[in-house]
């Protein structure tokens, strides 16, 4: 069950809690003037929760993970792991496992040796039999049993990433930190591993912070999504919630492919009209006078609207078609059924499913 607010999270301290975490880099960083990589980040992660931090390149995702892992020290704010202030814990004592997008394996060692390596540290005091047992367990979960005696350098990209994740799970850490682990894989393999790794996390009952720029990972894997833009969390919520009710145009732009259609409009009686006079849809009489409205491409209807639109590109997306159109001078993305007959150059009169239109008041 995806139960982000499971009761346990309130009884026990959260697996992870960030309060006001700020990190600056570059000139003047120590004097509090450098560029902010993280800007007042608050995040809470429940036990067994799968949190996906979604953001574009440069948003601060990797810095966030490195700060949680203890590889960076925040300039302000606090990080607590299972209720303990992380400042008191060296990276090695935090009991977190980091997985990177570049498969970090020992190339000439076998898969078995790679998996056993994190367990071999004398401080772990594991017997040979215990190590073998854990390696076998991890290999089975990640479907790499038949590869155990193969050197890492002979593996395919997908196999390497499975083993890299295996290296993280053998230790049975209290928290996984995943830094775009699927980014360097073929699209088909990414799709398979999304499903597989989500189930694996559920079986392990270990909380995960997974950072990515891939929306499909955020939508399909997360119990909760946090949108990170320019070092700030702009919205958190279930994928369904953040998708249906983005709290700002900025959040709306981060999630959804094709993206949500956004228009700056004014309300004339019960109609939404753009500044250049294009009438778009019906408005509630009580709606704000000036607003930005957002409508998902699947909630654009192809007929019955007040203005003409022109299709300029049609793409085949398997079960559906995507129309890239213009209404007046405004770009409009439409997700249409597969049997939609519109072609490049055709005109149609789009309207919006008004129950699905999101309205943000504008000054």
């Amino acid at each position: 069950m995806s139960a982000p607010e499971n009761r346990e999270a309130f009884v026990r301290p959260p697996a992870l809690e960030l309060r006001g975490v700020t990190k600056r880099f570059g000139a003047g960083a120590s004097a509090g003037r450098g560029a902010r990589a993280l800007d007042g980040v608050d995040l809470v992660l429940g036990e067994r929760e799968f949190l996906v931090v979604l953001g574009p390149t440069g948003a601060g995702k990797t810095t966030l993970l490195r700060t949680i892992a203890g590889l960076e020290t925040p300039d302000a704010g606090s990080v607590a792991l299972h209720g303990r202030d992380a400042r008191a814990l060296a990276p090695a004592d935090r009991d977190v496992a980091l997985v990177f997008q570049n498969f970090s394996l020992y190339p000439s060692a076998t898969v078995r040796e790679n998996l056993a390596f994190p367990l071999a540290a004398p401080a772990r005091r594991l017997s040979r039999a215990e190590i073998d047992e854990r390696v076998a367990w991890a290999a089975k979960l990640l479907h790499v049993e038949r590869l155990l005696d193969r050197p890492a350098k002979k593996l395919s990209g997908g196999e390497m990433q499975r083993v890299a994740i295996g290296r993280a799970i053998v230790r049975r850490p209290k928290l996984f930190l995943m830094d775009e682990p699927l980014t360097n894989l073929d699209a088909k393999l990414r799709e398979e591993l999304r499903v597989e790794l989500r189930e694996l996390a559920r079986e392990l009952e270990t909380p995960v912070v997974w950072v990515t720029h891939d929306q499909a990972e955020a939508l399909t894997m997360a119990d909760r999504v946090a949108l990170l833009v320019d070092g700030r969390i702009v919205q958190t919520g279930t994928p369904e919630d953040v998708y249906a009710r983005p709290n700002s145009p900025l959040a709306a732009r981060e999630l959804g492919t094709p993206p949500m259609n956004l228009f700056d409009v004014e309300r004339k009686d019960e109609r939404w009209i753009t500044a250049d006079g294009v009438e778009l849809a019906r408005a509630d009489a009580g709606a704000p006078e000036r607003a930005t409205i957002g409508v998902r491409p699947e909630h654009v209807l192809l007929d019955g609207g007040p203005s003409d639109a022109v299709v300029h590109v049609v793409e085949d997306w398997g079960p559906s078609r995507v129309l890239f159109a213009h209404v007046g001078a405004h770009a409009l993305h439409v997700l249409a059924p597969r049997d939609c007959a519109l072609r490049a150059g055709d005109r149609f009169r789009p309207t919006f499913d008004v129950r699905r239109v999101v309205v943000w008041p504008r000054a």
């Binding site: 399909t220 999630l255 959804g256 492919t257 085949d316 398997g318 079960p319």
Partner: protein, 353 residues
């Protein structure tokens, strides 16, 4: 006459690996063809042979009727777009983009106009005065793309040109490439492992595996009527559901492991072992169906959800409405819309019906 023809084109590496196995392909004037397949399927090697960067071990490449198999890349009038661009570090973005035109001795004013036009379309106008080292990886990639697209060659060859871009940038670039294609009608061969990208861009998708062409057809055909099990699985996200079983009752019903009674199908001519295929949008929950399993995953995808149901037969994904949640662990029955059922031969992987 086809514009670009590959005739029994073959590449065997010195170690004996047959990377490309005697493929035949004819590309029409103005056509956008996407070579799609997993890593190692031979798609990039094929592209490099078209470009003249690899010499075929057998077969021919014909460009506008001329046999160019033994010609150098420079003698082929080809625009090549790579995943990783080598930009000239000492030149500005504008000079980098203008470079192919400068080489072709295009007049200054015409050159500037062409650079301005492509820069605006790709969204790098603000970067024109910068040096490559001042740019992010994604922006460098856009500059590389602009440099390739500023000139109009006889044919464009593109090797995963959008590989390192974020998904939103990728969407915009796909739209741009499609528009570019509609306007310029330069025949294009584009290589990718990403089936979504292939579906979006292609006039025709050429699905490759292990050095061979499995199917070459428009995206809608590859999607709806895959020629083989591999194509069925590889195209679509998630791919086509495939259930091994047999046709019984003279081909009028399908039976697989763990079923109390067979599932009626529209009558088929034969009986015997088959793999039944159905895209997720042709699968629905049906309490009365004898094909039963438990919900293992219920993944939200934005406009829709995919419920993955696991049974003795394997896994089947059903595409459902964005608000139709399924509870993990629930037992459900599955039914197939007859219009979406495809049958494959389990022995050969080929299509039966």
């Amino acid at each position: 006459m086809s514009f670009l023809v590959l005739e029994r084109l073959e590449k065997t590496w010195p170690d004996g690996t047959r990377a490309v196995k005697a493929i035949d392909l004819a590309i029409e004037p103005g056509e956008f063809v996407v070579l799609l397949g997993p890593s190692g399927c031979g798609k990039t090697t094929t592209l490099r042979m078209i470009a003249g960067l690899e010499t075929p071990t057998a077969g021919r490449v014909l460009l506008a009727g001329d046999d160019v198999t033994r010609r150098t890349p420079a003698e082929r009038d080809i625009g090549f777009v790579f995943q990783f661009y080598a930009l000239y570090p000492h030149l500005s973005v504008a000079e980098n983009v203008a470079f192919p035109l400068a080489c072709a001795k295009v007049a200054r004013a015409e050159r500037d106009a062409a650079v301005a036009r492509v820069a605006e379309r790709i969204g790098i106008t603000a970067l024109l005065a910068k040096k490559p080292r001042q740019l992010s990886g994604g922006d460098q990639q856009k500059v590389g793309l602009a440099r390739a697209l500023v000139r109009k060659p006889a044919v464009w060859l593109m090797d995963e040109p959008l590989g390192t871009l974020d998904s939103s940038e990728r969407l915009a670039m796909c739209e741009f490439l499609r528009e570019q294609q509609l306007e310029q009608r330069v025949p294009t061969v584009y290589v990718t492992h990403d089936q979504e990208e292939a579906m979006r861009l292609a006039d025709r998708v050429v699905v490759m595996a292990e050095g061979s062409v499995l199917q070459a057809a428009p995206p809608a055909v590859v999607y709806s009527d895959p020629a083989t099990l591999f194509v069925a699985r590889f195209v679509g996200s998630p791919g086509m559901n495939l259930v091994e079983g047999e046709l019984v009752d003279g081909g009028g019903a399908f039976r697989t492991a763990g079923m109390a009674r067979p599932l009626p199908l529209a009558a088929r001519a034969r009986s015997g072992p088959v793999v039944l295929g159905a895209r997720p949008e042709f699968v629905r929950f049906d309490a009365s169906s004898p094909l039963r399993g438990r919900v293992a995953v219920d993944a939200f995808h934005g406009p829709c959800r995919y419920a993955h149901v696991e049974g003795v037969f394997g896994r089947v994904a059903a595409r459902r409405g964005a608000e139709e949640r399924a509870s993990l662990g629930d037992e459900v029955g599955l039914a197939f819309d007859p219009a979406g059922v495809r049958l494959f031969d389990p022995a050969t992987g080929g299509r039966l019906a």
